[in-house]
Symmetry: C2
DNA sequence: ACCTGAACACCGTTCAAGT
DNA sequence: ACCTGAACACCGTTCAAGT
């Protein structure tokens, strides 16, 4: 039967979950799909584009279209929490989405950025600065979660008992950084431009 | 004559500057040094460790030991500006340092983190939160600069005229995000813990 | 239109053996 | 102690040729 983009992304995602990014190669993916490596290049221009599609699949768990909550601080908080949860629910999820975002291959991250900008404008900052604030938040969420996930996966792999202060209540730690950013936005929404 | 770590890092850095991360391979590096690939593994455990050494070389331009300026906001600002400048002065510098930082292979980034924590404590936040604030700043600087650099390199390579709002005064844009974070730290340094 | 086969030009890492 | 040679087990991508 025919190979469809959907099947490719499905299998790629399960490969990611089971073995991580290092083992998510075009050749291995083709093997798993029982096609030749070249077949993938009929459906995707290159590996980056394929990874972008997998990133967008991971991000389907993030609701980027829900009605505005009216409270911008809450809006940012819940969106970022959803984003972090989505990344943590796949092996190397943060690394994958970071790379795809950096390469400009994730449509979904574009939407996240849009929602965050909207929230910042709602807070009362100008639209140029709202875009900047949104990006700052994204850098934080991706950086924090990639860090968290690499530690999680590191001491899930045998290296027990190394749990430092880092492993205690990551959600609270995550929320703290977010509060820092939200406070910053608050400050810049009144008085000075 | 003998191969020393210093020579390896020297040549690796010039390879990075001339061809970028994608072409900084162990085999290519060995070729350039007129040794066999295996020789590198006498001096470095693996590629990650070697890249960490190159990252630390890039970061020698960042002064992590200067006397405290007394003004923590200025201290954070100048350190981050130095960091960004250092990254921008090597091809794929931000990507390299990001990866090495994530892999825990950069001694220098550890020192940057320490200096930022100290500045946050000086601002009046608790030491646990100071560590978090420092990481948040690092995620921002690395994320912003990697983004900036990839755009710079992209439209240095032929794709002219695509200059959007992104390319106008990146330094001012960088400073804005930094101000956001510094404001956030200010807020959390008084009243609430 | 969609895929195979086979090639091209590479990788990182290991390790017996040499000096 | 330090390095070579050669191997192992892979990569991403292209493209004529097949159906």
């Amino acid at each position: 039967m025919q190979l469809h983009k959907r099947d490719v992304v499905d299998v790629a995602t399960s490969l990611l979950d089971d073995y991580g990014m290092a083992d998510l190669s075009m050749r291995r993916l083709a093997r798993e799909l029982n096609v030749s490596p070249g077949a993938l290049y009929w459906h995707f221009a290159n590996k980056q584009q394929l990874l972008g599609a997998v990133a967008d699949r991971v991000l389907t768990a993030v609701d980027t279209a829900s009605a505005d909550p009216g409270d911008w601080q809450l809006g940012i908080g819940s969106l970022c929490t959803q984003l972090r949860d989505a990344l943590l629910s796949h092996t190397d999820g943060a690394e994958l989405v970071s790379a795809s975002f950096a390469a400009g291959q994730s449509r979904a991250m574009g939407e996240v950025l849009g929602r965050l900008s909207a929230a910042a404008r709602e807070a009362g900052v100008g639209s140029t600065q709202a875009e900047l604030a949104a990006r700052t938040i994204v850098y934080y969420v991706l950086g924090f979660t990639a860090d968290e996930q690499s530690r999680l996966q590191w001491d899930a792999a045998g290296a027990d008992l190394v749990e430092t202060v880092w492993d205690e209540d990551p959600s609270a730690r995550f929320a703290f950084g977010l509060r820092l950013l939200i406070s910053g936005i608050s400050v810049h929404s009144r008085s000075d431009a």
